[in-house]
Amino acid sequence: MKTWHGYTGKILDVDLTSATLSETELDRTLAKNYMGGKGFGAKILYDQLPPHCDPLSPENILVFATGPLTGTLAPSSGRFEVCTKSPATGLWLDANCGGFFGPELKFAGYDMIIVRGKAASPVMLVIEDNRFELKPAGDLWGVDTITTHRQIKDTLGKEFRVACIGEAGEKGVVFAAIISEYRALGRGGAGAVMGSKNLKAIAVRGTLSIAIHAPDHFMTTCREAFNELANNPDTGGGRQKFGTNLILSLMDETGIHPVRNFQKGQFAGASKVNEETIVRYYVRDKACFGCPIYCSKIAEVKEGKYKGSFTEGPEYENVWAFGANCENVDIGAIIQAEYLCDYYGLDGITTGNVIGFLMEGFEKGILSETDMGFSMNFGNDESMIKAVHLIGRREGPGKLWGQGVKKIGEQIKECRHFAMHVKGLELPAYDPRGSTGMALAYATSDRGGCHLRSWPIGDELLATEDRMDLSSVEFKAELVKTQQDLFCMVNCSGMCLFATFAVNLKQITPFLHSATGIEAFGSSDEVMRTGERVNNLVRLFNIREGLTKDLDTLPKRFFTEPLNEGPCRNRIVELDQLLEEYYLVRGWDIDGIPTDETLRELAVSAPPAGLEASGSLLEGGENN
């Protein structure tokens, strides 16, 4: 049979219920049409996940998928994806992570691991050079992720790369993350899904190589891309120095840096918590596999009450979530909070959101000290840290808090109108009232409140040419759609989104083509079409799970409460026209459902028998 290039050509299929592990072949049509990463996950979940299953039941499927560039010398290609049905949103979830696990999985001989069922007792999956086994992991249950990493490496060997959950995932916190090599598959609760399956960890080690189809062409492309990255003022400058925090001041000056649970757009403490002050905590630079950008940092607190705390970060979103959003100006507390999120295996963005939300509830007199066990005013860093512990351990009031703001709002109705989430996923660090692009990006993101499906703020604020107006709706639908398809494709490829700040589509295409030899990847249009195909398939998945147009929206606050200061003063979000245009450019009907014509044009596959969506959604879709 033909050998694989870029891919290993092998899938590890794990049924935890029956403890059956089997190796299967990667399907060539799957690779050609869905590329890898998010695309593989989308096709597998769409074809195999029973509709409306409980995300935390054994029925749910957890896919760890690499892309064809993962583990190659193409720059910043250490990424892998986890795809599943989210316990936070009840909809599609994919979370992306760098580090070293994805490349190691390919060096061990696999493109993807599909995890099904539920083990009778805690287990870990160990993979080494095409060999695999389940081992008991009862002794690791209840152990934090940092210690879990260390213990696994001590027992199996330090060359092993690990993805594991902490207490939060074990106890079903719906925003529990999977932590891999001290980085996170953060959003949407994949850690809780892993915990519900009694899967504590996956450890992988390999000594194999990834075959490259056209080595000379591949290496020329590599050299060019590495040069682009080094010469780019972001990837070869600001991001290397400040990490992801490089835009903190800019966002605050623009008036779209959310403060006090999105009550304000500018932070009074911005001079204390910005890229210039945070950089003083950095001890050294840290990179993911094969990445010259090294946006990661090791930060350490050298004085004050958080002395001794350290983290890999703190990353922009967490600096905001535990900083401006909670009106906290102690960088030490931010570093400690981020460390604890890794320790328990929590999503930092959501954890900070939940705490900001509780603080607002407390200050409004809806939540009392009796409810919470302590006072929770904005700016109280000690309460913030206590809350992270309670959420991580799901202890006391943390039981409810670990459900996320949507579900807390359903229980405590007076808080509902300031629960800042989209589709059940809490929002990140850009106020959509100041950016029409971000408003549409949030409303249409497939996994809920997320800035990584598209990031129009880049074109609205940072572009050096053809910069778009922040407040205008013109061309925003086209921008969001194009970015969503590009970002999706990048998340299928195994490359990091940050690399695309310097390496454009025309340069990514030759990587995909020369690495894999797959003809369809020779054309940038086809490569983009793959991103669009995957996005449409994910839309179908979400519709089957109950997504309607009504959920393509934003929290009420953005429509009714204008920002009251800064450059975006008096702005509110007006979404209707944006959404209408977006559906139109997507080729979806007025209810946000992909038309048969769109699906046919994109060759989105029809679902297998028994899993059809209602109506004529997929008639005429090409089966593969």
Binding site: H149, T207, S209, A211, P215, K286, C288, P292, E312
Partner: protein
């Protein structure tokens, strides 16, 4: 030869990738003559032949398979993969190639120093 500034090392492993690629044409970190040994969150160690004046690996080899000529030269015919050189190296700069069961020792890419060229942070430099 090579000199190191490990405080600048970001652990990206590009050196290991380009080393394996240059010598074997293989996309992997696993056949590299330079090895980044990381123990998070500590500063990583970079393990590679630093061309020590005593050439202790040469002395240790029971089969006379190693010799110094501009860099450590390996006679594959004589080497039986015993690993005595790995034990003897004072800087842990020799690694076993699991594919070929032969030691991997830096040959400076015959003066091309690919790892130095590709290192994004100058953690690896040429010792003048």
């Amino acid at each position: 030869m090579i000199k190191l500034n490990r405080a600048l090392c970001t652990e990206c492993q590009i050196c290991m990738m380009i080393c394996s690629w240059t010598h074997f044409g293989e996309n992997t970190t696993k056949r590299s003559r330079i090895f980044v040994d990381a123990e998070w969150p500590e500063i990583p160690a970079i393990k590679v032949c630093l061309a020590c004046p005593n050439h202790e690996c040469v002395t240790a080899c029971p089969n006379d398979a190693l010799a110094w000529e501009n860099w450590i030269q390996l006679d594959k015919e004589r080497c039986d993969g015993c690993g005595a050189c790995i034990e003897a190296c004072p800087v842990n700069g020799v690694h076993m190639d699991s594919q070929a069961a032969l030691p991997l020792i830096c040959d400076t890419c015959e003066g091309q120093f690919q790892c130095v060229q590709w290192c994004p942070t100058k953690a690896i430099q040429i010792k003048e």
